[in-house]
Symmetry: C2
Subunit: 407 residues, 2 copies
Amino acid sequence: MTVGSVAFPDMPAISTIRLNAVSAGIKKTNQLDLMLMELPAGATVAGVFTQNAFCAAPVMVCKQHITQHPRYILVNSGNANACTGEQGITAALDCCKAIEASSSVTHLAHQQVLPFSTGVIGEPLPADKIINAIPALLSGLDKSHWPLAANSIMTTDTCPKGASSTFNYQGETIVVNGISKGAGMINPNMATMLGFIATNATVKQDVLDVLSFNAANQSFNRITIDGDTSTNDSCILVAAGETTCVVDDSNSDLFRLLEKAVNSVYKTLAQAIVRDGEGATKFISVQVEEGATANECLQVAYAIAHSPLVKTACFASDPNWGRIVAAIGYAGIESLNVDNIRVYLDDVLIVENGGRADSYREAAGQEVMNQNEITLRVCLGRGDAAETIWTTDLSHEYVTINAEYRT
Amino acid sequence: MTVGSVAFPDMPAISTIRLNAVSAGIKKTNQLDLMLMELPAGATVAGVFTQNAFCAAPVMVCKQHITQHPRYILVNSGNANACTGEQGITAALDCCKAIEASSSVTHLAHQQVLPFSTGVIGEPLPADKIINAIPALLSGLDKSHWPLAANSIMTTDTCPKGASSTFNYQGETIVVNGISKGAGMINPNMATMLGFIATNATVKQDVLDVLSFNAANQSFNRITIDGDTSTNDSCILVAAGETTCVVDDSNSDLFRLLEKAVNSVYKTLAQAIVRDGEGATKFISVQVEEGATANECLQVAYAIAHSPLVKTACFASDPNWGRIVAAIGYAGIESLNVDNIRVYLDDVLIVENGGRADSYREAAGQEVMNQNEITLRVCLGRGDAAETIWTTDLSHEYVTINAEYRT
């Protein structure tokens, strides 16, 4: 069950990008669990990866391979291939080599395959199952298979996640398509999150790197469900190089148009992960304004978004604003003057002058909390910086999902 | 329901310290909600207080009054008098003044009363109810009323918490008694936690300050239930000054004996709060060893103890050690070499060389996780520092308690 609508969009084909997904038998049931995306020669590729010190074997391999002109993105769900030591690296490389062996692309090296895994940590990757499924995977590649691909990368997700944006530039249609998966262990710096975004545009590598970094920073790095940063997560941006117009300058109009489209796809995909957060019944925007620095805004926003007390109050639709105030108070901001702080539920002012606002009536707060989309807004009264992050409530269903994940 | 036994102990009277508790009508039901402890003239008093920037009105008052030779400790439960602005300060002072007006202690100033509050944040303190109850409170003071006092300070606690330790020194019996309350919003630096500890010993102020600070640091500042630091919490150590022997030197044998007794009372009280943690079904010790610094040990320990994924796995008795490893990985330790890390469930080695230990069998991990007391032990392989903290699992009951707290 998701909060709000996350209907899968129409995704126009990008003619030189083909996809496929099959069931390789990694997941216990007969679900799709292996996806392949084929990229054209000359595509540029950029990515951001998890900051977790125990980063998974495929992430280590990807960081090496991404500079080798990637031609394939291979993703399995059901097993994270994380904390699997040397054996895990070998398994990931064996899968890349199986693509090299079976693909019809000439002169393909296994270093041109980017492997990704998501699922349980610490179990050996069943590389043989993946390798056996590769011929079927290659034979069914098709440019229309975006929905199939989105379905195959799901773990605890309850729905596939996609986003698409299109614009015209000098007679050419530029498309940005993306798919992502969540849904737990979501925290800044690439949590248990995978995102694959592609455009038909022709984009120079250094410009693509900027686009990828900035878009991830404003989207996937601004969502949190449980504060846990996973070992695997990665977000990849591909530019297929189909257009005659070239994005080679980050000061151009074309760059700005593409940036807008890319950012919107990233943001929709990131918010879809929160809307489908484990056990989520509310979609909560935490908006912190009037900070001295962007960093202190984020500090306060994450203290609120990570507080189990705030999250359970949201689950109960309880305007227990004292818990929000307590979280602001322990966020660790130096010389915070609480008398200057204002707190709002949507547009309802609840706290000012260090206490409950005179104008506040609980009925007004209750009305906001009854909604399934809520904005918690904090004005720190210290400057002009502002940041917004997105999170969920903490429900019984979250505990159920995470207590039973492996059973 | 608590994890393990937290039976209320026998508490020998301290002849010059008298206590009482009544129902003042602050809580909705007819429960005890107001407690008074009377201290003798010449008692020394030390305390540690919440670090929350939104610290509550009574905490602000206490910080002023604690240097004025306190004669009374007044505690209400059911209302935190936090985020109540100027009005909250006035209400706390009015309660102190009511003690001054009604007490038979001669030359008592209201500055010699320490006020404490615990309960819902942001509601005005019903000072009139407290003031009305003060004559009854004063008239029933008795040195045997420690259990009554422990009962009256409870909020979401399911049982009263007490601890006592006694030793002999040169023919005198020295007693240390303490009571505390939890049970949610527990995090280092005085969370929603109140502790009142008293000894009959004669202790010089500067020595008492050291005892109080160190004992709190090794106990109440090493427990976490949900990572939320409250606006109110305080821990007070009283030395009644009844003994002829005087603790005036922190290098003496007597100091070391008293320190041992005080530390043991603090630790028992702090662990009792975790055992009675909201919804707790497990008592979890997180022990981090071989760190380069104590600080990095704490960083790793809190990352594990705060992870909802680790906590829900513990609730499910699931040896899902990948979640422990992921938490170590995102704890933010600089240049962490994961190949040097060992992770144990009790004595069962589960992780080494960056992956699952060859010797590990899931049945052994399962056996540990089935217990209701578990030690998660991490050896970082970086040095000699070590730290231990105590926490609980995250259960359905936690969500229920915190979603329904105000209803």
